[in-house]
Symmetry: C2
Subunit: 473 residues, 2 copies
């Protein structure tokens, strides 16, 4: 019996038939990331039923020296949950652990297992007249464990922060199979290093998230979505400052897109209409919300806010949703940017951030640089201006062999964009994480002191390097 055979036999004993398979057909869908960029191989797919089984399988892996790649919904953006091609790793799915253990509506807290899908979490909160204020495109597949491991962002970060701001308690299995069990939420706890935050966003390289206690908020009782046309991205930033001052904490979204992006969306959605009559250099989607206590005055406050914006000549034109249907129609335009861009042709994509106040200058300075250096390429930026985070795409020249162009130019363009971002004091990964996609770029451009600290921490907590090897660092 080879070492692999004896490992598989012991693992099967431990997890039973439902918990372990080496069947190639069953494994296949989970060995390629959803964007189809990476394909790996695995010794088997383990699907433990609870944290004790996770701990036992991790201990078994430690004994046999088998690396572990944890996976949630397999909808990550950076290949962080796809094993390498060696076939030596165990793929550890958390999807079977999908119980919502408790939901305390009074304390506004939910404790759920890592495999709970974001959509299911939303629904559980809504049933109690509450909400979980983080949402993103992959909500039908993204799991709580994956969202925590990648510190996921989304469209509501402006007000509520990334995933790490919403995690009150955490349970994880460490590299040696010990269970880190800090689910009980304490609003104040000053007993040493913040290990919870260290595990959040570590992409499965320091521990495997098995459960979490998350913060819930009162349901939104009223929301207003405003679509505004502005003359420049600098003007959009001025409008952002105005809205922050006028709406305060009620401001929940502030997204920007250039005219070309809107046109691509309108081409892509035959039934959609432009919200404003005329074209504008930049468009802004503003979301303002209120819970029941503040709902009555929300619309008046938004009208005052926009009247002042007109008076100060911050906006060229604007319209306000009069119904939920109109609000959703505006958001549909925003959410359709990615599919519309994909339909236009191949593109090199970047998820970057710079300090919010520098973003307008950054975009206006660097877009012409890219288009000059790669003639025929069109560079666009859109997204979360309120967070200083835009998705920054370089679209291939028309009539191009996409894969060939990606292969010949993609890497050079990304390096160039990442160099520029670094020069401007920004981040080469604002919300998508590092995974395998940006590991080399992080090693090339990351702060050397931070990188050496990260390597030291990784070495300390996973000395044999068995947790998600080849990812992040």
């Amino acid at each position: 019996m080879t070492n692999t055979d004896s490992f598989l036999a012991e693992a099967a004993d431990l997890l039973g038939a439902r918990g372990l398979t080496a069947d190639a057909d069953l494994l296949a869908p989970w060995l390629t990331d959803w964007r189809g960029r990476y394909t790996g191989a695995a010794i088997a797919l383990a699907s433990p039923a609870n944290v004790l089984e996770v701990a036992e399988i991790v201990r078994l892996c430690a004994r046999h020296g088998v690396p572990i790649v944890a996976q949630g919904g397999n909808s990550g953006m950076s290949g962080g949950a796809t094993p390498d091609s060696s076939g030596k790793a165990l793929l550890l799915s958390l999807r079977r652990m999908n119980a919502i253990r408790t939901l305390d509506a009074e304390a506004r807290q939910v404790t759920c297992e890592a495999g709970v899908v974001l959509q299911a979490l939303h629904e559980a909160a809504e049933a109690q007249d509450l909400r979980f204020p983080l949402s993103l495109g992959g909500k039908g597949s993204a799991t709580v464990g994956g969202l925590i491991s990648t510190n996921a962002g989304g469209t509501q970060v402006l007000r509520h922060g990334s995933m790490r701001a919403l995690v009150l308690g955490l349970e994880a299995v460490l590299a040696d199979g010990q269970i880190f069990s800090m689910l009980t939420p304490l609003k104040k706890d000053n007993r040493g290093f913040d290990l919870k935050q260290l595990l959040i966003g570590s992409e499965g390289t320091l521990g495997i998230v098995t459960a979490a206690t998350l913060a819930l908020l009162p349901a939104v009782a009223e929301r207003v979505v405003i679509w505004a046309g502005v003359s420049s991205l600098g003007m959009a930033r001025k409008l952002l400052l105005h809205c922050e001052a006028a709406a305060g904490d009620a401001l929940e979204g502030f997204e920007v897109l250039p005219q070309a992006c809107l046109e691509a969306v309108l081409d892509h959605l035959p039934d959609a209409r432009a919200p404003l009559a005329e074209p504008h250099a930049w468009h802004v989607l503003i979301e303002v919300v209120a819970d029941r206590a503040a709902a009555a005055t929300l619309r008046d406050r938004c009208e005052t806010m926009m009247a002042e914006a007109f008076e100060a000549e911050l906006v060229e034109d604007a319209t306000m949703s009069a119904s939920e249907a109109q609000a959703e129609a505006m958001w549909l335009l925003r959410e359709s940017i990615s599919p519309a861009e994909r339909a236009r042709g191949p593109a090199v994509q970047h998820d970057i951030s710079v300090p919010v106040e520098k973003m307008p200058d950054f975009v206006e300075t660097t877009i012409p640089m890219i288009e000059a250096r790669w003639p025929g390429t069109e560079a666009i930026a859109f997204g979360h201006l309120g967070d200083g985070n835009v998705h920054y795409h370089a679209i291939a020249p028309k009539v191009t062999d996409g894969p060939a162009w990606q292969a010949s130019e993609g890497k050079a363009i990304s390096r160039y964009v990442h160099d520029l971002v670094t020069e401007w004091g920004g981040s080469i990964s604002a919300e998508h994480g590092i995974g395998q996609l940006k590991r080399d770029e992080l090693a090339r451009l990351g702060d050397p002191v931070s990188l050496s600290m990260m390597r030291a921490v990784k070495q300390a907590l996973d000395p044999r390097g068995l947790l998600n090897p080849g990812k992040l660092i």
Copy 2:
């Protein structure tokens, strides 16, 4: 020349006369913590002028194997900034680094050095019609570096979080003298482990904080302070839930004290009056604030909130501040609890938290247990109910030799309280940190998995144990 002499000569060369002294009279005030609990000794007092000098002196210490105790205002609560008695450590004061480097009113960010005193930070923000929303009793001496290193709390944590929630960027010197330089604030940055949060709250054991970029908020344009009498701590918790639902983010403080505490304060402050006509089992101080955008409706919203509270029979009586002077008079009562308690006689003090929803049961269950086990002792709890954090004191029986009682009973009472807190899923240090005061208790009661993770991280980042030895872990 001994090793010490050569170290001192090199250090003097490096830092100059202003930057280094071994004069016993100059050192003395900084070798005892402000509460007078701990006195240590040091080889010298270094006061570097900038981060480069900090880095150089740390490298010099590394070469000579000299331990380093970093110190800000020396107003910590757990002896974390007081060296041990061996006299081998260098006391490294950050007080000379007290520049506010930049304050960007538009972006609401301030970058300041570690030695900036909290009061000075408040004033700099106020001059720009902004505020820094963390305050505490020691604001006239506490420094930004100390507040960050201990993840300080205070009375506004309910709404704005502890210090760690307000730090946007950080600069620190590591054990080997490398400079961790992450001052540029990015709202979104997903490049690996959250090293900034790892350093915050690490009490100078992983690095020495030299500067930070902090979040500012719009100035408070209007505030209302409400004093309410309630029949039990459980009722106070119901009132808290009501206020959270009614006031939402405007609720900034929710403090509780029992009748006996109020009486002690009134004895201590001859000019003060009880806010309510009758005694009540528990008193609640509620602060509700609004910036300019929301100021107009604040008072109406508070009146509705309290009318509903009366109707639901949550409160027995209540009064609302009609002026800033009245608001301040109510806060003075709250802030005088500690001095009033000290005037009453010796006490064993604890800074504890349990999940907010469990706090009423915890207090009502455990106070009689202490008083039964130590006859004549009076146990009281007061403070931040909104955070699940109370200061929990056992007051010595009347006519007691304080120091003798502290010596004979203090440790046993603390162990008993900490056992109870741990049993209830709480923390033995909610906001004061571990320092040297609670190090043994953390080792005794802390989660073994967390402790082993902390030791591994400490070993990884400070393998020779030169940063603040004998503290925290």
